[in-house]
């Protein structure tokens, strides 16, 4: 299974963001989306990838980009994590069938039974413009996302 490359259509999905709410990728048509798959809730704070992205939401908004984070954890775990870490973006639950969305994007880790640490930048037409699979233990940071968003902005300006 390989990570979906740039140029692929991003598979649509509908996942729980809270125990009683769902989010669909298609809701964000016309805007850019950053999908961040991550292995598990409750990893240590200081090296936490999501804590970094939480500081960059304004920066992402400048590129008209919405961040969606996805793991196989349940919606209640996400709710507790989100509250504890003060995250201001949705955590989506790829819980049932487990990892189905991660599989569609080619980033499910069969051995660990979790989503890999993968990043996708998707444009307003629902096309993947950049994707990256990080080694499991390595926090990929945010420079790749920002570069991809800048390239996207530059090509959009050219087209317009």
């Amino acid at each position: 299974m390989n990570i979906l490359p740039a140029g692929s259509i991003a598979p649509d999905f509908t996942l729980h963001s809270t125990p009683d709410q769902t989010v669909s990728l298609s809701e964000f048509r016309g805007r850019n989306v950053i999908l961040a798959f991550y292995p598990a809730d409750w990893s240590p704070v200081c090296g936490d990838q999501l804590a970094l992205y939480n500081e960059l939401l304004e920066e992402f908004a400048k590129h008209d980009a919405q961040l969606l984070a996805i793991s196989v954890d349940g919606a209640w775990s996400h709710a507790a994590l989100s509250r504890d870490r003060k995250y201001h973006f949705p955590l989506l639950s790829d819980f049932e069938p487990k990892g189905a969305v991660a599989r569609q994007y080619g980033v499910y880790d069969e051995k660990g039974g979790v989503a890999g640490r993968a990043l996708f930048v998707i444009d307003g037409d629902g096309v993947i413009r950049w994707s990256y699979l990080s080694p499991m233990g390595v926090n990929p940071g945010a420079d790749g996302i920002l570069k991809a968003l800048e390239n996207l902005g530059a090509s959009q300006r050219k087209a317009g």
């Binding site: 704070v45 200081c46 090296g47 936490d48 990838q49 804590a51 970094l52 939480n54 500081e55 960059l56 920066e59 870490r85 003060k86 995250y87 201001h88 926090n139 990929p140 940071g141 945010a142 420079d143 920002l146």
Partner: protein
């Protein structure tokens, strides 16, 4: 060094908070957060490296506050930047790390105690803190870090190259570079 190691996006300049000579053999840059426990634990190790390598090592500190995870990280960074304008950056920086457990338990009151202990004038600091340049400086440090691939704190760069791991790894890498020259 590994070819894919992230490089420091913002070169060290006269605007940086630096200890040691510009002609030092090796420059170590830390991206740090004053409320981050891992940074607090690294602090005595950095001091040890500075003592051990002496004039061969220049040390630079840049702000990387994770403000949602650590609500006091930004006020602490602001205080250190204000102290810098009063030429007291390093005493404030050192105090914040040496007393991290104590002031983080008392919130902003803890920080106020710190500025008094460092001997800064409270009203002078309050005035400086109203200047927009302080926030801009911290944000610029932070974004420069993000563009350099900083993904958490502390994050270290040796002569522009990222070094992952702890103080022991830094010591080894610095020794290697100082022996080469």
């Amino acid at each position: 060094m590994h070819a894919r190691t992230p490089e420091l996006a913002i070169p060290v300049s006269a605007d940086d908070h630096a200890q040691g000579s510009r002609s030092a053999t090796v420059t170590l840059v830390e991206y740090g957060d004053y409320q981050c426990p891992a940074c607090g634990m690294a602090y005595p190790g950095i001091k040890r490296l500075q003592r051990g390598f002496g004039k061969s090592l220049r040390f630079v500190f840049r702000n990387f506050p994770l403000t949602e995870a650590h609500p006091l990280a930004r006020p602490a960074a602001e205080l250190a930047e204000a102290a810098s304008l009063l030429h007291q950056f390093w005493p404030m920086h050192d105090w914040l790390y040496e007393n991290q457990d104590a002031w983080t338990a008392y919130g902003t009151e803890g920080l106020e105690a710190g500025l008094r202990q460092v001997g800064l004038d409270e009203s002078e600091v309050a005035q400086i803190l109203r200047r927009p340049g302080i926030d801009a400086r911290i944000r610029a440090d932070f974004m420069g870090g993000v563009r350099s691939g900083v993904n958490g704190t502390p994050c270290f760069f040796l002569d522009g190259y990222r070094v992952d791991g702890g103080v022991a790894d830094l010591e080894y890498a610095i020794a290697e570079r100082t022996n080469e020259s």
